[in-house]
């Protein structure tokens, strides 16, 4: 459905996209993760036909995003990371304006807008002025806006940023619902556990490229064989954490109370030897075991590796 190949984009001396390639299947809810400045917003705005890439190609449903702009705009609903709303316009009029901006017939708009507001839980806000809505409501209104022309593909750039936990959960529910409706959704987010819950597939981006992509479980397991190990000791773990940071093959050591969590990339034998070292160092070890990584840890491991750790 969405196909990006070898895409590059430069802004002066910064390279925002550096030969990025990605495939998103029809009907997938696809998560795009990556540290700040990885190029997520850039690639999304190119897909939304707001800017042109310097090189490479992207198609949506077979239409090129640089040459078939008209068709692509009809296929895509885009929600930018930052957006404003108009003053002096009511919720209904706001959506009505966008309906006409997509050349939708006037007949049936009432029902369309009513349905959309129902979908994003704003059914009772039709007559509110949009600039007076709360942040979370504006965000949901923006989502309704990009659904106005019933696009096949939704490109949502951090749709849950700035929302409180309850509003985030609501947003998550709506997006999941859209996935069930058969829409192809490309979504970027910083809140990784949530992304893991709603997405079928994810890709991790770093420095303008996709580092890994695939089903959530696969990506979670990826990361060049580094494992997450938890050690629990009697007494404070701070000293142990300092010692672990010095050892070879360890990374991202975190101490929390009596527990230390760290990434380990050495062989399994070395992992055993490390335990012996800890014990020889005078620590009383209560637990020493591997844990299953979550998306966040996979993200840390993958992006950490790229950065050379």
């Amino acid at each position: 459905m969405i196909s990006i190949s070898e895409m590059t984009k430069r802004f002066g001396r910064t390279t925002a996209l550096d030969g990025m390639s990605l495939e998103v299947e029809k009907g997938a809810v696809f998560g795009l993760i990556g540290p700040n400045g990885a190029g997520k917003t850039t690639v999304m705005s190119i897909l939304a036909t707001l800017q042109l890439p310097d090189g490479g190609r992207a198609t949506i449903s077979g239409r090129d995003v640089t040459s078939d702009i008209e068709e692509v705009r009809g296929l895509v609903g885009y929600m930018p990371d930052f957006f404003g709303v108009y003053d002096g316009l009511k919720v209904y009029e706001y959506l009505d304006f966008f309906a006409s901006a997509y050349h939708l017939p006037e007949k049936g708009r009432d029902r369309l807008i009513g349905g959309l507001l129902e979908l994003v839980n704003l059914g009772d806000k039709e007559d509110f002025y949009v600039d007076l809505l709360s942040r979370g409501m504006k965000q949901r209104l923006a989502l309704a806006r990009c659904l106005v022309h019933d696009p096949e593909v939704l490109i949502l750039d951090e749709p849950a940023s700035g929302l409180d936990p309850r509003a985030r959960a609501e947003m998550k529910e709506i997006i999941r619902h859209l996935g069930k409706m058969g829409k192809t959704v490309l979504i970027s987010s910083h809140i990784l556990p949530e992304l893991g819950e709603i997405c079928d597939q994810v890709a991790i981006m770093e420095n303008g490229r996709v580092v890994v992509s695939g089903p959530v479980e696969e990506v979670t397991a990826a990361g060049g064989g580094s494992r997450v190990i938890v050690v629990e000791v009697a007494g404070r773990a701070g000293e142990l954490a300092l010692m672990l940071e010095e050892r070879p093959h360890t990374g991202l050591v975190e101490a929390d109370g009596r527990q230390v969590k760290f990434f380990y990339r050495g062989s399994r034998e070395d992992q055993g030897a490390l335990l012996k070292e800890i014990i020889d160092g005078g620590h009383i070890v209560i637990q020493y075991h591997e844990v299953r990584r979550n998306l966040e840890e996979a993200f840390m491991a993958v992006t950490g590796e790229v950065n050379g750790k």
Binding site: S45, A48, T49, L50, Q51, L52, T66, I69, E70, R73, G74, V76, Y78, M79, P80, F82, F83, G84, V85, Y86, D87, G88, L89, E93, F97, F98, S100, A101, Y102, H103, A142, R145, C146, H149
Partner: protein, 276 residues
Amino acid sequence: MKGNPVLLKEMRQRFRTFKTPLIISMYLLITGGLCLSYIYMRWRNMPGYYQPGMSRELFITFSMIQLALIAFVVPGLTSGSISAEREKQTLNVLLVTRLKPLGIVLGKMISSCSFMVIILLATLPLYNIIILYGGFSPGQLAGVFIFYLVTLIAFGSVGMACSAFFKKTGASVVVSYIIVLTIMAGTILLGAFIYEVTRVPGPGSSPTPLISQILQDLNPPMVMLRILGETGMARSLGLPYWGVYTIFYLLLSVLLVWWSARQLRPGGGKGMTWRQ
């Protein structure tokens, strides 16, 4: 209006509040009051006399004031129209719809200028009162209004182009006013300067250089004075002065509007960075 969603929306936003009709009424009250009291004063001093000079003075003064108003207000109305959307981060979502950039620009332009057009049309009855006192033909009045419209469109598109080009409204507003000031005063100053420089020294008149003639024909106050029957520098152009003025400014407007629309296409112009 139905065909252009942007126009409809902007009209809705603009004329929804009480502000617009209030400003228009205030303007009419003030100008109407001034005109009528002027007429009354003249009449009181010399009751019963016909004074062709009086209505002439009044007509010219009033027309000049309205021209100045166009120069002050119109760039202000349009020079923020696109850059403000960029600053408020509403432009992106507008651009990804199926609206054509040209439609967006025209919709914004018409809705911004409509305010001024309404003000001008509202002063028509006032002009009619002045005309009642003689000295001017309805043809001249029509000429003045067509002239207003051309000037308004030109200044409006200058503001529009600036707002499409500059990322920040501040820059757009400043540059728009500089350009309009150049048109209002710069043209005639430059024309006079060239005339003086190229003039043969000594007594007697020398021919006006072509460039000075053209610049004179492009200067709105001069052109309006001519419409109202004053004479300017001698001219030897094939086209009448109003032809030069109308063709030049309409062409300029078309060009500026087209160029503004180009700025809104993906990859068009530096203002179009989505980061706003």
